[in-house]
């Protein structure tokens, strides 16, 4: 019974938990318990979904039993299930970390956290373009509140930029979605894929402009150059567990690019196939360079991590340029790795800052910190992994991307930028690490605050271990991302799963309706 509804649980469960959390007042303990149980269950459901998807292929869930393309469908394919598991792991670590103190600052932290999960999970699962917009708004409004969690002038300052930019982004999303509807008469992604391939030549420029406006929206979410300026401000201002959860928010943008430009403007889109590729190459390289330059110029560790996030988004985007299975598989592997690593680094940055007294995580000499061993090791693992040093997961991800893009005509650009930016990243994190750990000002060792208790170290260790596990179990994970990439490169499998083979009953019925659009 429950098994049939598996794809909708990652949306419904956080929604119910969030609603329940709004009602629970008073002591923090019941809220913590609900948040933890809901997030753990979320992760378990996501893992179940992955197992089901490996076994049976894409699962389509028609909400209210309305068949596609009339009703809204949720589609749990390999890509969505993978993203859900990554989200579950990061969320669990963030929620455990927040229990050490951050969640006591406002009554609704755990509620917003669950709504954030709901929005992100919905964005990963939905098979409808307008529904994607709605879930974007759900995750955005929750992220506005989480970003403001703890308040303070800098958070408000960062939030004003973040909210205004995202509202403009939402306006663009609506324009693009309605434009696509106007030329195709549908919003179901699978149905859009069919219709875009059949467009009359006169309508193709309109559909192409709608697609490229969508690309702008997703690049804004992904914090791609030149739309990345909001990210460092917002992520640095956010509380560490929130920043760790936000590590997956840029990936929502990347996921949407993969989904929309894989399915709707994918291999079967005729003249509009691979619409995004020529634009993505310079933007991705620009993102990598802008990110790493920011990391080199950072004055705080959290700021450096934020810029490393930008750079890692560029690395993923550049691997989307040649639409081949090998490159996409590398992109997915790297995306998962960078989410874990960046989330871990955000937590580590705050833990380090808490031990350095008034200097915080600023890259200035400070009195020697007490017991730097565990945090130092964690920092080295995270830094080496994000730079891409062997034997860590970042190295494997970059290797897969380099191998996958070798045959592409853009290969010289991609190789030069990935390798060059990797070197500059190494310089950046080495400088950061050297200042934090070795450049000591005279004075008493920093006192340990409540932040660096075992409860806060555990999630950081878990995230670092997740990155190491990716390197140890690279073979099965690569097999999974290979199969995922194959699904993306061959979107007709997705389309058939949603609409049924060779145009389902829904597609036939649509033809008989004398709609205004057909005049």
């Amino acid at each position: 019974m429950i098994a049939a509804h598996l794809p909708v649980i990652p949306v419904v469960l956080p929604a119910l938990a969030g609603a329940l959390l709004l009602l629970v007042s008073g002591n923090i303990r019941p809220r913590r318990a609900i948040g933890l149980v809901a997030t753990t269950t979320f992760l378990a459901v996501a893992i179940l979904l992955v197992l089901r998807v490996i076994e049976a292929g894409p699962i389509v869930y028609a909400l209210g039993e309305w068949p596609a393309p009339f009703g809204i469908v949720l589609v749990a394919d390999r890509l969505a299930a993978l993203m859900l598991v990554v989200l579950g792991i990061v969320a669990l670590c963030a929620v455990v970390y927040a229990r050490a103190g951050w969640d006591t600052h406002g009554r609704y932290f755990h509620a917003f956290f669950q709504f954030q999960l709901m929005g992100i999970a919905g964005a990963f699962l939905t098979g409808d373009l307008f529904n994607l917009f709605v879930f974007f708004e759900v995750l955005l409004i929750a992220s506005y509140c989480l970003l403001l969690h703890g308040l303070g002038a800098e958070r408000l300052r960062a939030a004003v930029h973040y909210v205004v930019l995202n509202l403009v982004g939402s306006a663009l999303f609506l324009i693009a979605a309605s434009l696509l509807y106007a030329v195709t008469g549908t919003l179901n992604m699978a149905h859009l894929a069919v219709r875009v391939g059949q467009l009359a030549p006169a309508d193709q420029p309109l559909a192409a402009s709608a697609g490229l406006i969508l690309l702008v929206v997703f690049l804004l979410k992904a914090a791609s150059f030149p739309l990345h300026f909001w990210l460092p401000g917002a992520y640095v201002a956010a509380a560490a567990p929130v920043a760790a959860l936000f590590a997956i928010m840029t990936k929502v943008g990347v996921y949407s690019i993969v989904r929309v430009f894989g399915v709707i403007f994918g291999a079967d889109a005729g003249a509009l196939a691979q619409l995004a590729s020529p634009w993505l190459l310079p933007l991705a390289i620009g993102t990598m360079i802008a990110g790493v330059l920011g990391a080199l110029a950072s004055r705080r560790l959290a700021e450096m991590v934020a810029y490393l996030t930008v750079s890692s988004v560029g690395t993923v985007l550049v691997a989307l340029v040649p639409v081949t299975e090998a490159a996409l598989s590398g992109a997915l592997f790297y995306m998962v790795h960078s989410t874990f690593t960046v989330a871990a680094l955000f937590l580590i940055a705050e833990l380090l800052g808490a031990r350095r007294g008034p200097a915080g995580d600023e890259l200035v000499p400070a009195p020697r910190m007490a017991r730097p061993l565990v945090l130092g090791l964690l920092f080295v693992i995270g830094a080496a992994s994000i730079v891409g040093l062997p034997p860590f997961s970042g190295f494997l991800g970059k290797l897969m991307i380099l191998q996958g893009t070798r045959a592409s005509p853009a290969a010289p650009w991609i190789w030069a930028s990935i390798l060059g930016v990797g070197f500059l990243m190494l310089v950046g994190v080495a400088r950061g690490g050297a200042v934090i750990f070795w450049s000591n000002a005279p004075g008493a060792p920093g006192i340990e605050s409540g932040h660096a208790s075992a409860g806060t170290l555990l999630p950081a260790i878990a995230l670092a271990l997740a990155g190491i596990a990716m390197a140890v179990f690279a073979a099965p994970i690569k097999a999974y991302t290979d199969a995922t990439a194959a699904e993306i490169v061959h979107p007709h499998r997705y389309v058939e799963a949603v609409l049924g083979p060779a145009g389902g009953p829904g597609a036939d019925m649509l033809k008989t309706l004398p709609g205004v659009n057909e005049r």
Partner: protein, 128 residues
């Protein structure tokens, strides 16, 4: 044709005023600009179902054609979300004005330097 031109001109006017206001440096004009922009977008969505006169909004055997109801449903959703977001932004702008002492979108008056306590308060320092 004239109806199309009228609607298109209205959308263009709303959108251009909206963009102009969004690029202002104070939060209040930015809020107004975003509102105008969302009006333009809402009209745009509505028109994407095509402009049709004197046709039923649902399928009717007596009529050869019908007005597309889907954009109307979409625009309703967009209006509700846009309203909520504008409300949130107004509250945020007021709060930012209180905390930073200025209604500049950067939270700093041009020429001023950010306050030294701009670093976000850590767990211990902030208590609310």
């Amino acid at each position: 044709m004239s109806l199309e031109l009228l609607v298109a001109a209205a959308i263009a006017l709303l959108a251009s005023c909206g963009v102009y206001l969004v690029l202002r440096a104070r939060t209040f004009p930015v809020v107004l600009g975003l509102s105008l922009l969302s009006y333009a977008v809402n009209l745009f969505i509505f028109v994407m179902g095509r402009l049709a006169e004197d046709v039923p909004p649902i399928l009717d055997k007596a009529s050869a054609t019908y007005a597309d109801p889907l954009p109307q449903a979409l625009v309703l959703t967009a209006i509700v979300i846009g309203f909520g977001m504008t409300g949130f932004l107004v509250e945020l702008a007021v709060r930012a004005r209180d905390e930073t002492g200025t209604d500049h979108v950067d939270g700093v008056e041009p020429g001023d330097v950010a306050k030294p306590d701009a670093r976000p308060r850590t767990d211990e320092e902030s208590g609310d």
